[in-house]
């Protein structure tokens, strides 16, 4: 197969946040410093090289950016200020837009204004939808929050939750399949056994739930922050989607509420830590913030805060009407976060990350003849 070179690839990546890639003079310091760089995956220099050379197809099919967790060690040690860590981050954004067939991800990553408009539109649509549901179909009253005659009946909301979840799952699945195709399926050189797929399948839920690989970075705080936000978010999703009716039960069910409170603390604490970090820019991985990162964090923080208002007004103060209003505002944060960011933006990595770990293990099996790990032998002597 002929190799096509896209000389403008770097310029394209720059619209995704990459900078200074051309500074790299390939000393290999970054790959040697990276805790995750293990053959056959040499992170991050190989991708830097491919990027400089404009090898678009190779980059489309690489898993390496997904194996990087941006601890920042490479960027700190880089003698040229080429920011390899940030390049990996930008490549992940670019790859997300490659996996997405609609082209919407590309639009959102390259234009924060477009994403902001989309978020606002979805937010307004959510408001209109809920008001229509409440006052149109539900025949409910603003003064009733739960139970009979509620403004937003539980079963309707539940239906909406499931519908949205199903839709998002379908989109994510398509993108995941496309990722598999680009990285693995179309690669004729890889001979992968079915057993390898089965054997490594446990990696998907394992990495999805624990982000264990992130914990191997030298600094643990970023992993803990990530785990706090992610764990709280998953807990919330489970509570809301599966146990919504219990949530709105008149009696306080501690088994449900304890988790709810913990998740709220996790979301608020995690996002505050990340926001403060990104504002202070002291740590390498917080130095560069893409607009999508801000939107993501602000949406989560907004959702958590309005959730608290809603909960407090209903549970603690008995202000049902305030709770109803707060709930609509809450959904105006939650729905855009899910409907825009999961399929087309930052949040999509919840599917791509574990899938990449899984596929990386499968690839490593297939390339078993290539030594995995670090070479111990001497290099061949250069010919005199």
């Amino acid at each position: 197969m002929a190799i096509r070179v896209n000389p403008k690839l770097i310029n394209e990546l720059e619209t995704y946040g990459a900078a200074d890639v051309q500074n790299c003079y390939h000393c290999g310091n970054c790959s040697a410093a990276c805790p995750f760089s293990k053959e056959p995956f040499l992170i991050p220099r190989r991708s830097m090289r491919h990027l400089q050379m404009g090898l678009e197809e190779k980059l489309k099919g690489t898993l390496e950016p997904w194996l990087c967790y941006y601890c920042g060690e490479c960027s700190q040690q880089c003698p040229r200020g080429a920011e390899p860590g940030e390049t990996m981050m930008s490549l992940r954004r670019w790859l997300t837009s490659r996996y997405d067939l609609t082209g919407v991800a590309r639009l959102f990553y390259r234009s924060w204004k477009a994403e902001l408009v989309a978020l606002i539109l979805v937010s307004l649509a959510t408001m209109v939808g809920f008001l229509t549901m409440g006052f149109g179909f539900g025949h409910g009253s603003l003064d009733v929050y739960a139970g009979a005659g509620a403004l937003f009946p539980d079963h309707l909301v539940h239906l909406l939750d499931l519908g949205l979840a199903g839709l998002l799952a379908a989109v994510l699945l398509t993108n995941a399949i496309r990722m598999w195709w680009l990285t693995t399926g179309r690669n004729r050189g890889l001979h992968i056994s079915l057993w390898s797929y089965v054997k490594n399948a446990f990696l998907l839920p394992y990495h999805f739930l624990t982000q264990a690989r992130y914990s191997q970075c030298e600094k643990k705080a970023p992993w803990l922050t990530h785990l706090a936000i992610f764990g709280s978010w998953v807990t919330m999703e489970v509570l809301v989607i599966l146990l919504l009716e219990r949530f709105h039960h008149q009696e306080t069910i501690w088994a449900v509420h304890v988790f709810g409170y913990l998740a709220t603390i996790g979301l608020l604490g995690g996002t505050t830590y990340a926001l403060v970090g990104r504002l202070r820019k002291r740590e390498t991985h917080y130095k560069h913030t893409h607009p999508t990162d801000w939107m993501f964090l602000i949406l989560i923080a907004g959702a958590a805060f309005t959730g608290i208002v809603q909960h407090a007004s209903y549970r603690w103060f008995g202000l049902d009407s305030v709770a109803n209003i707060a709930y609509v505002i809450h959904m105006m944060f939650v729905v855009p976060l899910l409907a825009v960011q999961i399929p087309f933006s930052k949040l999509s990595h919840l599917a791509f990350r574990p899938l990449a770990m899984y596929l990386a293990a499968v690839h490593a099996d297939a390339l078993a003849d290539v030594r995995v790990g670090v070479a111990q032998t001497e290099p061949a002597r250069l010919a005199a």
């Binding site: 003079y25 390939h26 000393c27 290999g28 310091n29 970054c30 790959s31 040697a32 410093a33 760089s37 293990k38 053959e39 040499l42 220099r45 190989r46 040690q77 880089c78 003698p79 040229r80 200020g81 670090v374 070479a375 111990q376 001497e378 290099p379 061949a380 002597r381 250069l382 005199a384």
Partner: protein
Amino acid sequence: MARVGVFIGQFHSDSRIAFDSLASYAANLRAVEKVRLLGLRPKVDVKSLAEEIRREQLDRIVIAGDSPGYFKPAFTRALELAGGDPGEVRLASFREHGAGAAEVTDRAKAVLACAVHGVPYPLVAVPKPTVVHPATLIVGGGVAGIQTALEIADAGKKVYLVERTGTIGGHMAMFDKTFPTLDCAACILTPKMVAVHDHEMIELLTNSEVIGVNGSPGAFKVKVRKRARRVDVSACIACNACTEICPISVWSEFDSQLTHRKAIYIPFPQAVPNAYLVDPEACAWVQSGGTRCGVCVKKCPKECINLDEQDQTVEIEVGNIVLATGYDLLDAARIERYGYGKYPNVLTSLEFERMTNAAGPTGGKIVTKIKQKNRRLKVEEWVADPQGPPPKSVAIIHCVGSRDTNYNPYCSRVCCMYSLKFAHLVREKLPDATCYEFYIDMRAFGKGYEEFMERIKAEGAHVVRGRTAQVIEADGALVVKGEDIVQDRLVQYPVDLVILAVGLVPATGTAELAKVLGVPRDPDGFFSELNYNGDPTYTERGGIYVAGMCQGPKDIPDTVAQASAVAAGVLRSISTGGMGNLDSLALSEIEERAAKMQVRER
């Protein structure tokens, strides 16, 4: 009188010269009949030019601009076609005559005026000769200072050579071999050192520092502090009796802290002046105010030790000052991941130079350090001892702190080559040892350097393209981790000895000296030369010159070449009275002198 046509080319859009003002100035000059601005993208057509020349009846053409020579052929032919004398095409080159300084337009006008009058600009613009004191001060007694001193003194002029340490020789005296010829460094340097010592025109001021400079170019008054040596140089016979009895040992600077020296010591046996000196920081007598020890005084057969000698300040008069202050190594401990200072067998390049030197602490044996008990301080220390086990494998890491935006952004220029030299020395002395070279780009730029590199590769050193990320300790051995770029894989090699090719920085005290002398420095801290291509030995201050590493990293051949070139400038200044660079006169003065010279010419 000749009818002159002036053609001004702008050539660069970013020029700071005011061209309109220049054109009207030219039009007002005597004999100028025609002025034309050629514009930014001049198209010169010989036929129409010849027509123009004939119409204006021009006898002389002046082409002015940054690179006027580019148009000389066209104008020469045009003048010839028009029936004129083709020798009457004159160039007024602004860049060549330094119209890059603050008063650019004035300088350009002066250059143009001289060309119109047909007299060479330098002849007119060099200030009136001043009386230049025939003596020269050289700061720094390394190979650059030694070379300059000998060149000037051999021409019969007085030289003061001020050296901060107790001996001249500098870093080169620490080396065993030089690249790429693998000559013995001492065989080249020590005869020169002795020649300096014996030269009747050179006054050597070791253990001394320049602390103040007054006066102007041609007549500097320099204050030099002579730190007390506490040993009479003329009487000392270097018998070593004092060192033998001295109870105090401290780390030896000359041996790069690989071993100890005494408080009264000689840096190395061939030191010049060949006499001992006392380290007041270490000497018990000096530190206790004359109440303790003092055994060396009693032991000295020549009675030449005076432990109570005081520092002196002397003032010397010189006409020119040459800076040859050299360099230091970057503090390798700053780059923590290479473990210098943490692991005893991670050495800097200078430490290895001493270790491999036949006159060094190990007698030229390449060894790993061993623990020894320091009896006085009662602590265990890692010392390079000839009894130490030789390394089975050695890693040499290039670009430590060089070409790195976190440390030195610049290339230190000598490391690639001396690292290759190290590989050769390791393989020569320990034929069974494995030797790894980690490099980013191999910079073998000099005469014979590329061939030297090929030779070292052929000798069997493993040359790995890729910068090392880390040196760690595992199972009692050092492990070097890096990426082999060429083979696209990660490597880690267990080694016994790591040598860091540490980047070079200006010598300590460079900033203070620059302040004392009023000489500007580069962003990297090295002294700034007047013009990188044209005047690499002059500085912005007239009468002050730079030679060697203090102007920027360079190898020994380049250093010696620059040192000799400096001598030419100094001698010219002494013999003609002209002061170094072309310090321009005021425009009116230049015009006047140019007009006068033209009259004389005609």
